[in-house]
């Protein structure tokens, strides 16, 4: 771990990247789902991973987030190696994610969803809650206030008391993002956030992501198929195919990269 740290510091004098992924590989039996992927996400950066279906994008997410243990390679968040940690510990270090198929707590209300994600910051000691100590009441009230703030931000305040499972799909997506943001993450990972959204909702999402970065200083790592969203929003793009990274660069570079065009459109 000290090796990778030292190397980065020597290579670039600029502040070390927020997330460093080095030589990441993930093997499921005979299938090499992810093959030696390297990339960096800088603070305040919006970084996108694109590629055809089955390219291994979500597997990369799962490795970075601790849901899979990578076969080889290292992942470093803010200088701390995290590839051996379990997912909930990684989340506490400030790396949270949304899911390709929205994973809300469906039978709970929208507000409750936002309270659960603040669990680690709340007064959870048993006796405090049983006797409703002032500490406990204050923590709960503050948590509610934060929830209201984020609901307002993503435009869900009018449906705050609905069951999360009864929201429209676009609303569920936004709630999932709010649920992540309320934990004050350093890095937000979005797995196909625009999937299933209509063009208007996609434009709103575009604005929301930019806004999160500008106002809340969060870096964003996203997987997306919607090219208009990716090209418009990303600072840097990694293209994957069959588990291998085939190109990295700015949207303009990616757009004109022959390998990418080949992967997406096939050869002449």
């Amino acid at each position: 771990m000290s090796r990778s740290l030292g190397k980065t510091a020597a290579a670039e004098p600029t502040p070390s990247p927020l997330l460093e992924v080095r030589g990441l590989s993930m093997r499921f039996g005979g299938l090499l789902a992810v093959d030696t992927v390297n990339f960096d996400v800088r603070r305040d950066q919006i970084f996108a991973i694109i590629g055809p279906n089955g390219a291994g994008k979500t597997t990369v997410f799962n490795c970075v987030g601790g849901f899979y243990r990578p076969t080889t390679g290292s992942v470093t968040l803010d200088g701390q190696p995290i590839h051996h940690l379990s997912s909930h510990r990684i989340a506490r270090l400030g790396l949270v994610r949304t899911f390709q198929n929205v994973r809300l707590f469906k039978t709970m209300t929208v507000v409750e969803n936002l309270l659960i994600s603040q669990h680690t910051q709340l007064e959870t000691r048993l006796l405090h809650g049983l006797f409703k100590t002032p500490n406990y009441r204050r923590a709960e009230a503050e948590a509610l206030e934060r929830a209201v703030f984020w609901l307002d931000k993503v435009g869900l305040l009018p449906v705050a008391n609905r069951e999360a499972g009864n929201l429209a799909y676009g609303q569920q997506r936004r709630l999932e993002i709010a649920r992540c943001m309320i934990t004050h993450p350093k890095l937000l990972m979005l797995d196909e956030p625009a999937a299933g959204l209509n063009p208007q909702e996609t434009r709103d999402l575009d604005r929301l992501i930019n806004d999160l970065r500008a106002e809340h200083g969060v870096a964003v790592l996203l997987i997306e198929h919607d090219m208009s969203l990716v090209m418009g929003i990303s600072d840097e793009i990694l293209v994957m195919e069959y588990g291998r990274p085939i190109a990295t660069g700015t949207p303009d570079e990616i757009r004109s990269d022959p390998r990418v065009i080949k992967a997406y459109l096939g050869e002449e």
Binding site: S86, H88, F99, K106, L130, A160, C180
Partner: protein
Amino acid sequence: MRRVLPEALLAAVLTAVLAVPIFGLRIHVDGIDVSLDRTPTPVIVAVVVVFLLRLFQEPLRAGWARARLSITWQHPLADALRRTRRQPGYRALPWTLLLIAAVVWPFTASRGAVDIMTLALIYVMLGLGLNIVVGFAGLLVLGYAAFYAVGAYAYALLAQHFGLSFWLSLPIAGALAALTGFLLGLPVLRLRGDYLAIVTLGFGEITRLLLNNLNVLTGGPDGIGNIPRPTLFGLEFGRRASEGGATFHEFFGIDYSGEHAVIFLYLLGLALVVSILFVIDRLQRMPLGRAWEALREDEIACRSLGLNPTVIKLSALTLSAVFAGLAGAFFAARQGYINPESFTFIESAMVLAIVVLGGMGSQFGIMLAAIAITALPELAREFNEYRMLAFGLVMVLMMIWRPQGLVPAVRPRLELPERSEPAP
């Protein structure tokens, strides 16, 4: 009708096949002669009932639905009910009335009835406790009787060897059961679903076997007797006081009556149930309770938000064990005698049945189910033989028609107050 008829016939035939060996034959022992008696009547009744029910299932359902609709929409009483439902004090009122009724009831009821209700209260405690793991956290635990046993033996042994009173032993029994739950959960809660059920099933049996064979400590199959009854601030409920003790009837200058002890035990059980209800109600609204439910809904989402699933499950199992421990100590105090036979797998299954029948996560439903399951067989003794059979039947029917239980759980939803100001 043409479509339903063959189905109804099939159901009737199946019932006959199932019912003949269970109802239709009875082993008749006459001296050394053993013969099989044929008793066709119950089989015929069962077949006819199943056939008719299946045949008229749809009209019956439609009628029931219509009846329900008319109640919910047209009846003025329903309107009034709905209006009171919105009043803030609505939640407290029925509970208060129920509590008052429960406190007054033993003074009017027969001694036997009070005794049975005390037993039912023990099952209410167990049901409420198991509901934490099964209903809230969604973990299937099949060895709940083990924690119950720990509580009971804790009190019995503490009283026997150290002469500790019930009141001192009660928290210790709870704590020991909690410790057991914690130690069991530590390695076991990494397992999911069925595996957890199997391991806890094994744990329950191991505990019973230990109690059975650890003669030196537990008295083996003979159990432990002469467990002291609980006292009221040191006042005993016997006819004569033990050395240096005082009795309840002498202190208050009333005639001795065996009923005092029975009623006292009942009220003690009631107090325990009420405090357990209070604690669980608070727990449900606390971050911890929310986390249990969130974990049941989606463990992966929980992990992605930094919640440690092992810790949360462990807390559910530990707290659940506490209540079993308390119920166990109370059971030992009520019986005055315990042996491993009281803590078999059937006991765990009974408690689980109570939780499932009542409605997972539903406190009120569980109380109803506990009372029904303990009180009904006691009231109708002849029915006792068919208890397990009826149990199975009820469970199967419930799973088909009402999987959410007698009284489906209503979550205490946390809601924002109406029109709260948007944050700055």
